[in-house]
């Protein structure tokens, strides 16, 4: 749906995508936030929503044309269902997927990115906007999912971050060990650098659990800020324990940390959880 950010009102633009398998059965859907509204396509001048989600545990990616003026209903311009790695794969890991974010290439208006998780690992995919064809796909063997991104304005470089569930023990990362990771990539899929940010859980018998949920790029100072959900004792000051605090880490464009700030409830042992792409 479309919201006026000043007032929160949605006077138009509420669209429902639904596929009925039978008159009474609907599939199971999953959404992670992959949505972008291009109000003027560079080629046709039309308005398109780009979105991706799961339907019955398969990734669906859709370009939906929204008529600029009333009288015609929205129309699916193209849609693709991603290849499903099925039971012939050795492990359930390869069937896990999370279509997380969609963003545009500022240098080449013909392309967009879909980031998240595919085939069990963090993924970045670059697609042609006109026909949805895949240009390239980067699979991160040392990342479980790419949760957030930050585009450098008018440049080919962008940043992504997420985490690596090192043991692949479960789809739910509530108790498993995971380390946060940040990378810089360009629009040809070249990995410029990859950095792991992780520390030790203050409770030595508990798993280390550090994850990255947000990125923001400051083009005026050429600095990157990462938002982390951490248990790393090296970054926390007060009442350390087996619970999550929030950390902001300021870095240069090569991923070298400049300073960090931790947000916690001080002596109160409460977890602070973060949503995806939260900065």
């Amino acid at each position: 749906m479309e919201i006026d950010p000043a007032t929160g009102k949605s006077n138009k633009g509420v669209y429902q995508l639904e596929y009925r398998e039978t008159s009474s059965a609907t599939p199971t859907y999953g959404t992670w936030g992959a949505l972008y509204f291009d109000k003027k396509d560079y080629f046709s001048g039309k308005q398109f929503y780009y979105t991706a989600f799961t339907m019955n545990d398969k990734i669906e990616m859709i370009r939906l044309e929204v008529p600029r003026y009333g009288g015609r209903p929205p129309r699916v311009d193209w849609n693709f269902e991603f290849y499903e790695f099925a039971a012939t794969e050795a492990a359930d890991l390869y069937r896990r997927k999370e279509p997380m974010n969609i963003h545009m290439d500022p240098l080449d208006r013909a392309y967009f990115y879909l980031t998240g998780r595919y085939h069990g690992r963090g993924s970045v995919m670059r697609f042609n906007k006109q026909n949805g064809r895949l240009k390239w796909y980067a699979k991160m063997d040392k990342m479980t999912t790419v949760r957030a991104w930050a585009q450098v304005p008018r440049q080919k470089n962008f940043y992504g971050c997420g985490d690596f569930e090192t043991g692949d023990v479960t789809a739910n990362v509530a108790s498993a060990e995971h380390t946060s990771a940040i990378f810089r990539m360009d629009n040809t899929g070249n990995m410029v650098w990859y950095s792991v940010l992780s520390g030790s859980n203050p409770v030595s018998s508990s798993a280390n659990q550090d994850r990255c949920f947000g990125l923001s790029f400051d083009s005026r100072h050429n600095e990157l800020t990462a938002l982390l959900q951490i248990k790393a004792s090296s970054l926390r000051e007060y009442s350390e324990g087996d619970f999550y605090d929030t950390a902001l880490i300021l870095m240069d464009t090569n991923g070298r940390p400049k300073k960090s700030e931790t947000i916690s409830f001080a002596s109160s042992a409460y977890d602070i959880y973060l949503p995806n792409d939260a900065l």
Binding site: I3, D4, W32, Y36, K39
Partner: protein
Amino acid sequence: MIVGGNTTSSDFAPSTNSHGFLYALDLSGNFKWGHFFYNVSFAVTDISGCQMASDGQTLSVLGMG
């Protein structure tokens, strides 16, 4: 800043079943506006993401019915 998600709290929505919500704060943390999506007449149970549209004027929101 605009925050969206799911609440099952009857303190913020009419009942304890899932409701999607959105709220906005200014940079000083002052509350500007907030909405929940009533899960009967307007069935949005969760907000999973939002991003400004290409013109920077409106916010595109993805939710689950």
